[in-house]
């Protein structure tokens, strides 16, 4: 399949199940909400080393947030619910509670409950105040008010969770590093408009795509040598001579459909730059179908996107 001179390879991205949750963080100003969001999702690129994958889903206007202040929506994913339950309160306590003017609210209603203030309320040393309005016993949402030096930290007791998808991806094979980066930036800008997904890596882009395993004992992953241009000829390479640089976009989402939609939007944005923009091909990372049950087949996803020879 060729789109605007870019080859869409007959490959698929292999993704795996994750458990995720959404937090809504608000602050007095959009800047402080963003600072809280970035801090909370910092060092959360890959579960391999960080324990979770997190990112800012989108920014929120005052009319969209529970307290009428500007905010951000975050998604945090972990490999299982137990890990999610541990990692969310840690990040909440270290990065949101500490950040001036912030408040934190549940962003998902259903699913198993992930503790928020339920855990960190004890920081208030007995001065915490809970409030639950309406509903019968066991119904409704409870929030907590924790006195802090700057004023008061307001936080929902817990939030819901979803069974999500982690590790959706595609690879941009370009002539040069500059052209690969430009294409990746275009993809990220377009994909961030898709609801329900995050791109957890720096700026949404990964340069160190990996393969499973390593020659070194104890390492789970190592550089994806088949896609390293500087190794062409020394390993079984997947890269033609025209490719000088490869970047990967990794996608986590709240559903298969959200990841598929983001993949389509991203590849479309890359292909809009076309061969003239230095993009040679689009490929995807997979491990023969052994890593996870979710397969995002590139050509199926891009079906009807305006194929040209």
């Amino acid at each position: 399949m060729i789109l605007n001179g870019v080859e869409i390879r007959d490959s698929f991205a292999e993704a795996f199940p994750m458990v995720g949750t959404r937090l809504i963080i608000t602050a007095d100003t959009p800047e402080w909400a963003l600072i809280a969001g970035r801090t909370t999702t910092g060092f959360a690129t890959s579960v391999i080393g960080c324990g979770c994958e997190a990112g800012i889903e989108r920014t929120l206007g005052p009319e969209e947030t529970p307290d009428g202040r500007p905010g951000v929506s975050l998604l945090i994913f972990a490999m299982d619910f137990g890990s999610l339950k541990k990692v969310v309160p840690l990040r909440l306590g270290q990065c949101v509670l500490t950040c001036p003017t912030t408040a934190c609210y549940a962003g998902i209603e259903g699913g198993k409950r992930v503790p928020l203030a339920k855990t960190i309320r004890y920081f208030a040393d007995g001065h915490q105040i809970s409030k639950k309005i309406g509903g019968s016993k066991g119904e409704g949402m409870r929030f907590w008010r924790l006195p802090v030096m700057e004023g008061e930290f307001v936080c929902d007791e817990d939030t819901g969770s979803v069974d999500g998808v982690g590790g959706g991806n595609f690879l941009i094979l370009a002539r040069s590093r500059g052209e690969a980066l430009k294409a990746a930036e275009a993809a990220v800008a377009a994909m961030m408009q898709v609801p329900g997904i995050i791109l957890p890596f720096p700026g949404g882009v990964v340069r160190s795509g990996s393969k499973v395993g390593s020659k070194y004992k104890g390492l789970f992953a190592s550089t994806n040598d088949a896609y390293c241009p500087t190794l062409r000829g020394t390993v079984p390479s997947q890269l033609p001579d025209t490719v000088g640089s490869v970047l990967e976009i990794v996608i986590d989402g709240v559903s298969f459909e959200a990841v598929a939609e983001a993949t389509k939007v991203g590849i479309t944005a890359v292909c809009a730059l076309g061969a003239e923009g230095g993009v040679v091909a689009i490929d995807a990372g997979n491990y023969g179908g052994n890593l996870g049950p979710f397969h995002f087949k590139l050509r199926e996803i891009m079906q009807g996107a305006g194929e040209t020879a």
């Binding site: 105040i129 809970s130 309005i133 309406g134 509903g135 119904e139 949402m141 004023g151 307001v154």
Partner: protein, 266 residues
């Protein structure tokens, strides 16, 4: 018409207690079964048809067109459905209610919504004493749900309240929220001098800093994000909290180690 309607045949000779005659009870019955259902009237039990014209089709709605006759226990024990009273009710309306909606167009007697744990009561007029409070001998005031009083509330409203929301558009009598354990109360008018005495937790919204019992400590005026949140999440408080950027926070009752708060527009 949807639901069942009850209209008195004649003025009652004794107090009638409708406790337990709720939409979930009347819904499954046929009209004939409903007419034969007995309710306490004075010292005896009387068939409903002897007291009321029973009309309509039983479902989740019960309409009582009662005028000024004060029936006791209207909506007591409700768990679901809708009960509408076109008129005034006596004591214990909505007592121990845990769900559904009770709308009263007139006034209510004592113990309206006492020991209520869920659902919603909307009263257009004034309420008697002990609205949303603990019943006699009980330690449990309103613990969930919403009680909206369009007029004044008599003494001891919200006594021992431990959750949920009570809004009083008018004045609150003496002893509002005494021994309150948790929950939220909003008063639009004047309050009595014993408000919040013995209060452990909970929040009381008032317009101006009131005279409070000893044991309440003024912590100053503060910007509270919780005000914004409550204004958005709780429709009953939206109008009340409109424009509140700060609240004067008075904490008490410290004489018993309480951490309740009275919030006045700051």
């Amino acid at each position: 018409m949807s639901g069942v309607s009850l209209k008195p045949r004649a003025p009652f000779e004794a107090r009638v207690d409708l406790s337990g005659l709720t939409p979930e009870v009347t819904g499954p019955l046929t009209l004939r079964e409903l007419e034969h259902k007995e309710v306490p009237c004075g010292g005896r039990r009387v068939k409903l048809a002897e007291l009321f014209f029973v009309e309509g089709a039983p479902d989740g709605v019960l309409l009582i067109e009662i005028g000024d006759v004060r029936l006791d226990g209207v909506g007591a024990g409700m768990t679901t459905g809708e009960l509408i009273v076109d008129g005034t009710v006596g004591a214990f309306a909505g007592r121990c209610m845990s769900g559904g909606v009770l709308r009263i167009g007139g006034e209510a007697g004592d113990f309206l919504g006492s020991e209520m744990s869920g659902g919603r009561i909307e009263l257009a007029g004034h309420a008697g004493s002990h609205a949303g409070a603990a019943g006699s001998g009980s330690r449990r005031g309103l613990s969930g749900g919403v009680l909206v009083i369009g007029g004044d509330a008599g003494p001891r409203a919200a006594e021992r309240q431990r959750g949920g929301l009570i809004t009083i558009a008018g004045n609150a009598g003496e002893g509002l929220a005494t021994d309150m354990i948790a929950g939220t109360v909003s008063v639009g008018g004047a309050i009595g001098p014993l408000m919040g005495r013995g209060m452990k937790r909970g929040t009381i919204f008032v317009d101006a800093v009131p005279e409070l019992p000893a044991g309440f400590v003024d912590t100053g005026a503060h910007e509270l994000v919780a005000l914004r949140l409550l204004a958005r999440r709780v429709p009953e408080l939206a109008a009340r909290l409109q424009g509140w950027t700060k609240a004067r926070r008075i904490v008490g009752d410290t004489l018993i180690g309480g951490q309740g708060e009275v919030l006045a527009r700051g």
